[in-house]
């Protein structure tokens, strides 16, 4: 059987005085899907990085097929048949999908016969549940498509053990079902074993055979999924005596107020010289969360970028409280518009600046933080410290470079900046990508609280569960337009899925992109 049996025996790893892994003994049975749960910083990534040779464990051993095996480098792991899909993207952004796949496959011939290679890649892709344009560049792909490319890269190597770090965080439920279903099928047929880090209980119960929970570097429970329940797992993750954070109930306090944000006929150019947003109309009222659902790559990214001013608009009007809105700094301030962009380190921060400086970006030149052209750094630092405390940002201090923080903590820092004071309009994209259970609940709670305070929230998310949980109204975006809308309480998952899949398209609708 090609599937590999992985065991770790009392694996420990220290970073200075910090114990990231404490005597973890994990058992991944061959031909199974094993889910690894835990909060941010629980040691999941450290554990798998020890297995793939990225880190060397300080104590303990890794057993492959029952034999103790030293894995000093990722190359060794690859030779052993262990593939890893990382949470951050490791594709080459400026090279085509075909080139990326060829490089990942290794054994690149000195002279490449592209005709043969392409035929081979097409044939390979036909055996997987994914379709990607071989000539597209990751630079132009949405994060969901990039994630698929990452997984394809690993499948191409025919791994005996596939490790995935949150593989579905950017996929639609349908896509996630497809991906996980395909992976489980592979595992059960004995082709490979799968170890996946996840935060979603739904995926654990639907697709995993076994589940292990890490907390503060220790393995707190491990066993068959059949013997566990989401409640038990949540308890194990959060620890004894700690109650899971209460999500604010989805009670619509009052009917939504007047229309605040009005978008008419918005058209935006994409990266590949074709229109990504083609005449989009949308209204958002005060005290309302409008969720934008859609398969990634249908113009959501360009739409949000155009709204927050990262991308020029071709045509159409955007008005806020009846006034034209161009997302200039002064307008953002006077109309109280805030945004939580996706990939906040890239879109909402200056990586080389400190946490305090990043938290100050909106207001460093405003009273009371500036006086006669001078910035009052001490006031800003003091406020940053307060926010770090309030939002639980894990950092070495307010002076640390923000890019040294983990993804969840960058997200919290941006959240602190954007939710401070009262916002009238929040533009939010995939706010919980890659965050753990507790952080997700906390961020969702804050969005709902903002809504209850009368704020208008436009929420773009590739996670349908998140949209169903938070939104008052859900619209579906497909081919650069809003094709469907419904009050969230009437929304049917399969109906939304059908609209997202673009099956509704009439003759006048834009042509589908050739696969």
């Amino acid at each position: 059987m090609p599937a590999l049996a992985l065991q770790t025996f009392r694996l420990s790893k220290h970073f200075g005085a910090f114990t990231a892994l404490d005597q973890v003994s994990l058992d991944v049975r061959p031909g199974t899907v094993h889910a690894l749960l835990g909060e941010n910083g629980a040691g999941k990534s450290t554990l798998v990085k020890c297995v793939v040779g990225y880190y060397r464990a300080d104590e303990g051993a890794v057993l492959i097929d029952g034999r103790e095996t030293a894995i000093p480098s990722p190359t060794t792991a690859r030779a052993l048949g262990i593939g890893m899909v990382y949470q951050h993207f490791t594709v080459v952004p400026g090279m085509s999908v075909a080139e990326n796949l060829l490089l990942a496959r290794g054994r690149v011939p000195a002279r490449i016969d592209w005709r043969a290679v392409r035929a081979e890649l097409e044939a390979f892709m036909a055996t997987t549940p994914f379709r990607l344009d071989l000539d597209a560049r990751p630079l132009e792909l949405a994060s969901g498509e990039k994630q698929k490319l990452e997984i394809l890269k690993q499948l191409l190597l025919r791994p005996r053990l596939l490790i995935l770090d949150e593989p579905t965080s950017v996929l639609t439920p349908q896509e996630a079902d497809e991906v996980l279903g395909a992976l489980r099928e592979r595992a059960h047929s004995g082709d490979c074993s799968v170890l996946m880090i996840t935060h979603k209980f739904r995926e654990v119960s639907a697709y995993a055979d076994d589940v292990s929970v890490l907390r503060r570097g220790r393995l707190v429970c491990s066993g068959s999924v059949a013997d566990s329940s989401p409640q038990l797992l949540a308890q194990a993750m959060m620890g004894e005596g700690r109650v899971a954070p209460v999500t604010v109930g989805r009670l619509q306090v009052a009917a939504p107020g007047a229309v605040r944000l009005q978008i008419e006929g918005l058209r935006v150019m994409g990266d590949r010289g074709e229109e990504a947003v083609r005449g989009l109309d949308l209204q958002v009222c005060s005290g309302e969360i409008v969720g934008v659902a859609g398969v990634s790559g249908n113009g959501q990214r360009e739409f949000m970028q155009a709204l927050v001013g990262q991308r020029p608009r071709l045509a159409g009007s955007v008005t806020l409280e009846g006034r034209p809105f161009h997302a200039r700094r002064a307008e953002n301030r006077s109309q109280r518009v805030r945004s939580l962009p996706e990939e906040p380190l890239l879109n909402g921060c200056v990586g080389e600046l400190s946490v305090a400086d990043n938290m100050a970006l909106r207001e460093f030149d405003q009273s009371p933080f500036a006086w006669a052209g001078w910035v009052r750094w001490r006031r800003l630092a003091a406020r940053a410290r307060a926010w770090i405390e309030e939002y639980g940002v894990k950092t070495q201090g307010e002076g640390a470079m923000i890019r040294t923080l983990s993804g969840g903590n960058v997200q919290r820092a941006v959240l602190a900046r954007e939710l401070s004071g009262e916002a009238d309009l929040l533009l939010v994209s995939n706010p919980v990508f890659g965050l753990d259970f507790a952080a997700v609940a906390e961020i969702h709670g804050r969005l709902l609280a903002a809504r209850d305070a009368g704020c208008s929230v436009l929420l773009v998310s590739e996670d349908l569960d998140e949209l169903l949980e938070l939104s008052d109204r859900i619209v579906v975006m497909s081919g650069g337009r809003i094709v469907f809308q419904t009050p969230a309480r009437d929304a049917r998952r399969h109906e939304l899925g059908a609209w997202m899949g673009g099956r509704h398209e009439t003759a006048a609708a834009p042509q589908e992109r050739a696969a």
């Binding site: 594709v91 080459v92 952004p93 400026g94 990942a104 290794g106 690149v108 011939p109 490449i112 010289g273």
Partner: protein, 306 residues
């Protein structure tokens, strides 16, 4: 001015495009290769001057022009190696190192080249492509440096190689995402040093073309910033070797306008015309940058495309 005079100017400009453009071509191809791997080598100006001196010296001493050409390439590669290795040290900025290499290269060349001002060295042979015409002007214009066809072939080879060979993919991967390259177990610094050295060798051939063909002697004013302009050429050519060829010819032609006009008696604005290539550099860079079009082919590890 008669129609014949205009025709002479045109022919002279075409001939000049090749003659003056050949060094541009080699330097920009060298820079293109270096930048594709994610490094900027501003030191190519120093590489050009040092290799011109070395090539001239070696050709004079050995009395063989081809030994001279080879030595020019090797001198360029050696100086580029210094750049490549220095930039591989942690927290070293390639632009700053490049300026250092530029000054080092020219300084070394001026020092070592003192005794080379007087002598005559054998010259790179030329191909007479103007035999079909009985006009002396046409024949003179179409007498072409044999390095030029070599450069054209090299441009085509690089263009093809970037897309169709293992080395091409590795160089582009390293230039696009060092992280991805490391994840695949590729030595980022190794590939970058190799590309920089190969780029230095290619640029060195441009130096040989300067001192052994046109103008064909060694003096301190041999290169007037051609190595630096090549950096701009590469950006203008959007990191495509074949477009580097077109850009080099364009600049060569622009550089030949002044002398060509003077030869038919229009000399009033001689210095102004000589400034034409530089004005053209600015103009083209302004025109070719666009906020909406993403720079396809631009290596993402380069500061310029971020």
């Amino acid at each position: 001015m008669s129609a014949q005079a205009w025709l002479d100017v045109l022919i002279a400009v075409i001939g000049g495009a090749v003659r003056v453009g050949t060094p541009f071509l080699f330097v920009s191809l060298g820079e293109c290769l270096t930048e594709k791997a994610g490094r900027i080598n501003l030191g190519l100006e120093g590489v050009l001057v040092l290799s011109a001196m070395s090539g001239f010296g070696a050709a004079w001493l050995s009395d063989s022009v081809w030994i001279g050409v080879l030595c020019a390439g090797l001198a360029g590669a050696a100086l580029a190696l210094v750049h490549g290795v220095a930039c591989s040290l942690p927290r070293v900025n390639d632009v700053a190192v490049g300026i250092g290499i530029m000054l080092l290269g020219t300084g070394l060349a001026f020092h070592l080249g003192k005794p080379l001002m007087e002598p005559q060295a054998p010259q790179i042979p030329s191909l007479a492509l103007g035999g079909w015409s009985n006009s002396a002007a046409v024949q003179a214009a179409l007498r072409i440096n044999v390095l030029f066809p070599l450069g054209v072939a090299l441009a085509a080879l690089l263009q093809w190689g970037f897309a169709n060979t293992r080395w091409g993919l590795l160089v582009r991967m390293v230039g696009d995402s060092a992280d991805a390259a490391r994840a695949l177990g590729t030595s980022v610094n190794g590939v970058r040093i190799a590309a920089t050295v190969a780029g230095g060798f290619i640029a060195g051939l441009g130096g040989a073309s300067l001192s052994l063909y046109y103008p064909g002697s060694w003096n301190e004013g041999l290169s007037s910033g051609q190595g630096l302009i090549a950096v701009a050429l590469v950006i203008f050519a959007r990191w495509s070797p074949l477009r580097c060829l077109a850009a080099a010819l364009l600049f060569g032609g622009a550089g030949a306008i002044g002398p060509a006009l003077q030869s038919v008696g229009v000399g009033g604005a001689y210095y102004l015309f000589n400034a034409l290539p530089y004005a053209l550099t600015l103009l083209i860079l302004v025109l070719s940058c666009s906020p909406t079009r993403s720079a396809r082919g631009a290596p993402l590890e380069l500061g310029v495309s971020r």
